[in-house]
Symmetry: C2
Subunit: 411 residues, 2 copies
């Protein structure tokens, strides 16, 4: 491969420096949205952007836009970015890589004294993970109008109950730019694949053509609390026993529509959660994904039918609520093309790929031409402290991002 | 029935007044061990006992002994009591009934100006529930030497990590009486049945002849955290899916040895507990009970075999630790006899019964002649805010307790 103009070492050093903020003992990152550590990550990003000559704008939900001016600053910017928040036991690359690859594009343009026609921007979207405040992709969703400002501001920490708006203010990122008041010429997002396909097929670049549709549910199973000692087995209405059968059913539904379907129970809370009391109620979440909306609908029907049947059989009541959904997304053909051409011209091995994960790009695609660039991650693992990627692959993704953004921002 | 000398109205009013401390909206009680509410309950009990002329002793783990002197105060006391702590969503009778029935015995002796030969004591055992600090029956266990003082003092709140010794001191119940330095002439404990048998058979008094053996375990299942979107179903090592199969297996083992076997998973925590991450590890507890130790051993073997097999099948690792156990208990023949005779003489319907639950009486039985008295509870439900018993049954149990204690403390 040739034509590497981005500085892979500088990019890698920035990724490693950022990863120290919230670093965990096992080599991962815990930098929950709107925590003190999130603030530290944001502060470092802004310092680097200012050093690179960018101007900073922060909007009402805390999304940060770092702008490198173009010859014609009235043109809508060519934007890239991702997020800086992480899962509770997250890795060093998910989100951070896309933000810093964008910064590396700007640094490279500075090194090469490139003047683009349109401005170039790097964005940090607030709370992409949805782990502390649910649902996910909240900053980009608010930006495009999927969530109202009020709705976002009143979201509560899933564990402590702290309020989004209070926490945003506390860390000093309650900006004054209005939401959606920012036309975008095109949007590209670089990201680790978070799956095993590129690594398995030894491809360096994933040209992302589509993203899975997703449906999220909140499920409450109600049985009857009773003493674990003197309550005969046949008389029990054990909500955890019923919920555990439902978790099995959800898992089997994921297996029922291969190879793309995914079905996950990621969060569970049992009440009263006491060792010698039969659980009286259990709350858990379901995450269903598939690239075809029709199959997602079948998975939805299966989940509802089977959970209802299990609850009846166990003498329990189940309440299944739609929590969040978005349909499968096809990315913009011209953006996909410019990414594919950049990969080809750079001599990287590549393949078209679909995204199993949601990304901010999925929301941005509703308001601007959008494309994504994937790079491999070790063993396909992410949302894990052992998440890993190579310096070479990180540089390759940034190079493709640079070429795609240069193409769209110039001439 | 006849011969009712205890004051059922006074007993009922005391139960209702105590139940206001930690009262929940659904009519139950949340009065966790060593909480501020536990302190308030203890303070009220001590005030009532002092009003009844008792002297108070508190030992190093916070057990409270309220003593009514006998003619010969050098005789070991005839003791009764139970506990004032509750489950997180507990009821008004579990524990509190036994303590207040004991207080009613003393009040009745005062009313009738009875002088017993041996002193009479009412005890409040610390942390019987084991819900906040595990295991259960900690105060009585420390009293008889089953747990060391150091071990108890260093126990941590299952959720917050607060330390037992710190919390005991904070609520002002770190007494100075040495553990075990208190011979007991005989011990009786009155309690709601916490099961459906007496109600089903329309019996007022359960003469408790034995208590189930119990084995408690802590289980950790380790899989692999990964992103819920792009991780294909066949590559997952989902710790919660594996744990939910184990929960099914435990439940089936409970059904395998009818009618006495009980098997319960009461506590579960999943990590990282994020909606869009495949769970990497799950911790849960198992509670096995049976009146025959031989069958308990078979249940133990089944649990270990099946959880190990499930873990292997799911690509996970399981660690099953013995956490606590005690063998089945036969109560003292002479104490059982005096309870049975008191029920007969009072004209109450009665039956012999075994206890499915653990009680402080099970530990006390190792150091003193011990008996228990059960009364029915509505629908057999306890460890539940709807736990209920009738004023008539409460009075009947207190009457039998009075007669048994009078018998043992006199001539």
């Amino acid at each position: 491969m040739q034509n590497l103009v981005v500085n892979g070492d500088r990019l890698w050093e920035s990724i490693m420096e950022l990863a120290r903020i919230g670093a965990t003992e096992k080599g991962g990152v815990c930098r929950l949205a709107l925590s003190d550590l999130d603030r530290q990550g944001r502060d470092l990003f802004i310092r680097w952007c200012k050093e690179a000559g960018c101007t900073i704008t922060i909007d009402r939900v805390g999304n940060i836009f770092a702008r490198r001016p173009g010859k014609d600053d009235s043109l809508p910017p060519i934007m890239t970015g991702s997020h800086l928040d992480s899962q509770p036991t997250g890795g060093r690359f998910d989100g951070a890589y896309g933000v810093l690859a964008g910064l590396e594009v700007i640094r490279t343009m500075n090194d090469m004294e490139i003047e683009t026609d349109a401005p170039v921007e790097v964005v940090v979207w607030t709370n992409e993970e949805g782990s502390r405040f649910s649902p996910a992709m909240m900053g980009s969703g608010a930006f495009i109008g999927e969530f109202s400002l009020d709705d976002v501001m009143n979201k509560k920490d899933n564990v402590t109950g702290e309020v989004f708006g209070d926490e945003l203010k506390r860390i000093g990122y309650d900006g004054d730019a209005w939401l959606g008041d920012r036309p975008i010429g095109a949007y590209f997002e670089a990201h680790i694949e978070q799956g095993p396909i590129l690594e398995d097929e030894e491809k360096t670049i994933g040209v992302v053509i589509a993203a899975n549709g997703q449906r999220w549910y909140e499920v409450t199973v109600t049985g009857q609390e009773a003493h674990a000692g003197p309550t005969p087995m046949p008389l029990r209405k054990d909500a955890l026993v019923a919920a555990s059968r439902m978790i099995q059913a959800v898992h089997q539904i994921g297996h029922r529509y291969p190879p793309y379907a995914c079905a996950t129970v990621g969060f569970i809370e049992s009440s009263p959660n006491s060792r010698n009391t039969i659980p009286g109620s259990v709350f858990f979440t379901i995450d269903l994904r598939h690239p075809e909306d029709e199959i997602l609908t079948r998975m939805n029907d299966d989940v509802r039918d089977e959970c209802t049947r299990i609850a009846e059989d166990a003498g329990c009541i189940v309440d299944i609520r739609d929590f969040w959904e978005f349909p499968a997304t096809l990315f913009d053909e011209s953006c996909v093309l410019v990414v594919r051409e950049a990969a080809k011209q750079s001599g990287y091995s590549w393949r078209d790929i679909t995204s199993g994960a949601g990304h901010d790009a999925v929301y941005v695609a509703r308001v601007a031409p959008t494309g994504m660039i994937f790079i491999p991650c070790e063993d396909g693992i992410s949302h894990n402290e052992t998440e890993n990627a190579t310096p070479e692959d990180c540089a390759a993704g940034a190079q493709v991002l640079f070429m795609a953004m240069l193409d769209r921002s110039t001439g």
